[in-house]
């Protein structure tokens, strides 16, 4: 578990004049996100208009500063849904007036209740590489090269999934039992989606993209050589993935899943073997990877489930060995078996 505590201190809440937007009835929120380690870069900031429900979001700069502009006047709930964190409201009743900018500084605390070693390394590492600059590299064939070690991230504005009744019942049960039966807790592959905010190493050649990571099954193969999905293959935890280029975007199509995995980090959705996963990867510059995820399963969802993440390059990090079955005491200590 990696997450930052939910305690937030709105240090300053003052309104000062802005310019130019009074006529349109919009204002803004401006401030900085900090943690005990200093400014927090690339933090997602989410402002929800209380009466219309519209959500506006941005991310903080390297200095931790952020600005939400062109917000319709009204009362907002502002949150920073940092890694793995419930999107509990941090600051409520932030008043945005037309033609004004409201100042809001957000101090994230480390008051986590997680486990030492699982928590704030993410932010530390992200800040370490926040100055990575440059153009996205390309392979000899001109295609974008997605290779590198990526520090994944969560969707700052996740939409709740729309589940069929049976799936909703299963999911509710998983929540009520604190994810006790998550396959990952038994050292099985838990989630085929690229939503756990961990390190992923992309190794790309013309014909294949290999993803390496530190949880089961530790790798994914995405075939780029033009092959199609096999007919009547045995369903597997991670499915069968093929990728095609749509301009500079790699579109990865995966089918052939078994129904054992729990989809999406911290959500744990059930699904059927009809699951169809489409990922779109685009590297707009050296340091960022835009990841759009779409999950379709007519056997479990009433509409597709989507997630949109921005990952950051972590060039000095490496994927390390992690053998889960070495000393897994969880089943005993959680009373699973």
């Amino acid at each position: 578990m990696k997450w930052i505590g939910v305690c937030v201190v709105p240090l300053l809440l003052v309104v000062f004049g802005s310019n130019g937007s009074a006529q349109s009835g919009t204002g803004g929120i401006r401030g900085a996100v900090t943690s005990p380690d200093g400014p927090v870069s690339a933090a997602p900031i989410r402002a929800k208009h209380q009466s219309t429900g519209r959500v506006f979001s941005t991310t903080s700069a390297n200095s931790g500063q952020f600005a939400l502009t062109d917000l319709p006047a009204g009362i907002y709930e502002v949150s920073v849904p940092q890694i793995g964190l419930a999107t509990a409201p941090f600051v409520q009743n932030v008043n945005v007036e037309a033609g004004q900018t409201t100042s809001l500084n957000i101090a994230l605390t480390k008051g986590n209740q997680g486990v030492l070693g699982d928590d704030n390394a993410y932010l530390v590492i992200r800040n370490k590489y926040s100055n990575v600059r440059g153009a996205a590299p390309r392979l000899a064939d001109g295609r974008p090269d997605l290779s590198g070690v990526w520090n994944a991230n969560v969707d700052p504005n996740p939409e709740p999934a729309a589940l069929l009744p049976w799936a909703n019942d299963v999911w509710r049960n998983r929540l009520s039992t604190s994810f006790r039966d998550h396959p990952m807790a038994l050292c099985l592959p838990g989630d085929p989606t690229p939503t756990p905010p961990v390190f992923y190493k992309f190794v790309q050649t013309r014909g294949i993209l290999v993803l390496l990571f530190e949880h089961e099954p530790h790798y994914r193969q995405i075939f780029l050589d033009g092959r199609v999905h096999p007919q009547q293959a045995d369903p597997t935890w991670m499915g069968h993935s093929v990728g095609k280029w749509d301009g500079d975007t790699l579109v990865v199509d995966t089918t052939g899943f078994n129904d054992k995995s729990w989809l999406i980090f911290t959500v744990g959705l059930p699904h059927t073997e009809m699951l169809h996963m489409v990922e779109r990867y685009r590297r707009p510059d050296l340091g960022h990877l835009l990841v759009d995820l779409r999950l379709e399963d007519p056997g479990a969802f009433t509409k597709p489930v989507e997630r949109h993440m921005t990952w950051e390059l972590a060039p000095g990090e490496e994927i390390l060995e992690s053998i889960c079955t070495e000393n897994n005491k969880f089943p005993e200590y959680a009373g699973v078996k």
Binding site: A88, V115, D118, S178, T266, N327, Y333
Partner: protein, 134 residues
């Protein structure tokens, strides 16, 4: 559960959250009770530097009776700890530490660690890499 070395604080408004596994793997809330924080001070007897979690074992004396209880403290993965600046030899048997965490649900004398402070130096372990980060 008595004495200055063994104190429980019940949080009135703990915001319970558990993520599904990340660098580590498990479902925290199924194993530990976030509403039962525990602070333990004792001497290290053993470290298991293993996946998916490293474990620290400490002898905690009861201030009233002097009876010593060996507590098992679950930490993150070796990889996660390494990225925080830990090494497998950072703590050695005999070092006194203070651990803050939450109490295990299903096993006596089990807790997790969200922080470990070395008594001799006052150093909060795991802060090594974050201190240099900006």
């Amino acid at each position: 559960m008595r004495g200055a070395f063994l104190t429980f604080t019940f949080m009135a408004a703990a915001i319970a959250w558990h993520g599904s596994p990340a660098a580590a793997h498990h479902s925290f809330a199924a194993e530990f009770d976030i509403t039962k924080p525990v602070t333990l001070t004792g001497k290290v007897t053993k470290i298991e530097w293993t996946n998916p979690h490293a474990f620290l074992f400490i002898d905690v004396p009861d201030t009233q009776t002097g009876a010593v209880t060996n507590w098992e403290i679950e930490m993150g993965s070796p990889n996660g700890l390494t990225r925080l600046g830990w090494t497998r030899t950072l703590l050695r048997a005999g070092d006194e530490v203070t651990v803050e965490g939450s109490l295990g649900r299903n096993k006596a004398n089990l807790a997790n660690a969200r922080s470990v402070v070395m008594t001799a130096t006052g150093k909060k372990l795991g802060a090594a890499s974050s201190e240099g980060a900006q």
